[in-house]
């Protein structure tokens, strides 16, 4: 079953539109990246998935039901939104214990997740004194408490050091490999390129793309075939769809095999025939350039 299904989801604050008519599915067994510039509506969407914010119109279902109707929601869904949003006066253990008890999760699970995220040694310390990296680990421990099938992470690597980033990436890959649903937001394309299998890209609250990472690159208008030939003008005439540069021809819409076949039949020699793959970053910039809230 589809883990998360948003249908025509919208959220307005007065006249400001945070999310507009957003529909998408998030499937299990893969990492789905939720990508968009800052202010695109990613966090708002995640809060609506989790029943924290009420959609203005539309609906979002988790495992086929609205979040509010899940009996012990944390056993189905785990989420890390803002790692610093905790009561600093509580110890790590008591913080997790209170969350566990609310969903009838046994207390022994608290020790397990503390061990899993490497916080067992500081379980008794007040969490107000935790570094961002430690808070992030604590937030992930809370998300994993109920051994949930569905996990949401909002910008989980923000402000982390390289060790922490690598740890979170590996964790997300492992969780997806276990068949769980991992839905992770980021404003960094490069980050998603490392972890995600599928991408949902939004800008200004609207859906821009919903595609696999491979397709996303392939579909981008920036992918092209570079052709060089001693008889370049004749090649250009033959191919017709190319853009002629002084030393090469740039072809979009035909793949190297098609071009090679055409030139071979015409008996034209080729010096180079290369498919130039766009970077994910370039594809992302291309797609979102019209939807940046603030442009510098």
């Amino acid at each position: 079953m589809t883990a998360i299904r948003a249908t025509s989801l919208s959220k307005h604050y007065g006249k400001t539109v945070a999310v507009a008519d957003l529909s998408f599915d998030v499937e299990p067994g893969q990492v789905t990246g939720f990508l968009g510039p800052n202010g695109a509506g990613k966090s708002t969407t995640m809060r609506m998935v989790l029943g924290l914010d009420r959609p203005s119109t539309g609906a979002v279902l988790v495992d086929g039901r609205p979040y509010q109707e899940l009996r012990h929601p944390l056993r189905k869904v785990g989420a890390l939104l803002d790692a610093k949003a905790v009561h600093g006066g509580r110890s790590a253990r008591n913080h997790l214990l209170a969350i566990a008890q609310s969903n009838a999760i046994e207390a022994s699970r608290v020790e397990e997740v503390l061990e899993l995220v490497g916080l067992s040694q500081v379980a008794k310390r007040r969490i107000g004194g935790f570094s961002l990296g430690m808070s992030q680990r604590l937030g992930i421990a809370a998300a994993l408490l109920g051994d949930p099938e569905i996990l949401l992470f909002d910008e989980p690597v923000n402000g982390l050091d390289p060790d922490g980033i690598l740890w979170i990436r590996t964790l997300m890959r492992d969780l997806a490999a276990e068949g769980r649903t991992v839905f992770v937001s980021s404003h960094l394309m490069s980050e998603m390129a490392q972890t995600a299998d599928h991408l949902i890209v939004i800008g200004r609250g609207r859906l821009i793309a919903d595609t696999s990472v491979q397709e996303f690159i392939g579909r981008s208008s920036q992918g092209y075939v570079r052709v060089r030939s001693p008889r370049l003008a004749e090649v250009a005439e033959l191919v017709k769809v190319g853009e002629l540069h002084p030393d090469h021809l740039r072809v979009t819409g035909l793949d190297p095999l098609e071009i090679g076949t055409m030139t071979a039949r015409a008996g034209l020699p080729l010096e180079e025939l290369t498919f130039v793959r766009p970077s994910l970053e370039a594809a992302y910039m291309e797609l979102t350039k019209d939807s940046l809230e603030f442009t510098s």
Binding site: L52, R54, A85, S91, A98
Partner: protein, 246 residues
Amino acid sequence: MIDILRSEWTKIRSVRSTVWTLAATALLMVGISVLLTVAISNSGQNMAGDEATRISLAGVLFAQLSIATFGVLVVSSEYRTGAIRTTFMAVPKRLRLLTGKVVVFTVVTLAVCIASTFAAFLLGGQLILGTTSLSEPGAPAAILGSGLYLTAGGLFGLALGALIRHTPGAVVSAIALMYVLPQLTGLLPGQWGATVDDYFTTNAGMEVAIPGQNGSLGPWSGYGVYLVWIAVTLLVAAVLMRRRDA
């Protein structure tokens, strides 16, 4: 529901503000009782039984503010830190959550408040003044009534905390509604002014702790009116809590 109660109990016992505000409440109850009764016994006055009971419980006027602060913090601290989102993710049925908070808070507060008023009476009234005792008519009712009065004040704080979601704003509102405005309503002119004064929050509620001050209401009807004020505040807070984004 039992899950929510256990979780809220863990939350309430695991932060220092609980210990501080409850300790302040007990200290104010007992401390003021001791101060007043020592001063009176040093002045050589001879004080009648019901007067002695009343003096030994005079701390409720101040203790109600620390217990109301405790009530405010139980909700507002979650909003201040953003932890309320974690709470709502764990318990998306917000009315059940609020009910759980109210139940745990009431049990904890009632136990501490009645223990405090009992200690204040024993120390100030029975030990230092010596003119009243538990067998004095009206004394057990005054001890219990003062404990109930304080507990209601704590619940008023909790309701205001849930309504305003902002610690300073909720504490100031609690002080205004429980302490400042009840004194100002006494200045209202005429019969309707006197009625408003009698029915206003703590003016009504105080009857259960220190009876005989109110022109319109008795101890239990007065306490009932006070509880209605609190219930209405809590109801508005609950409706808004359900509706508002977290």
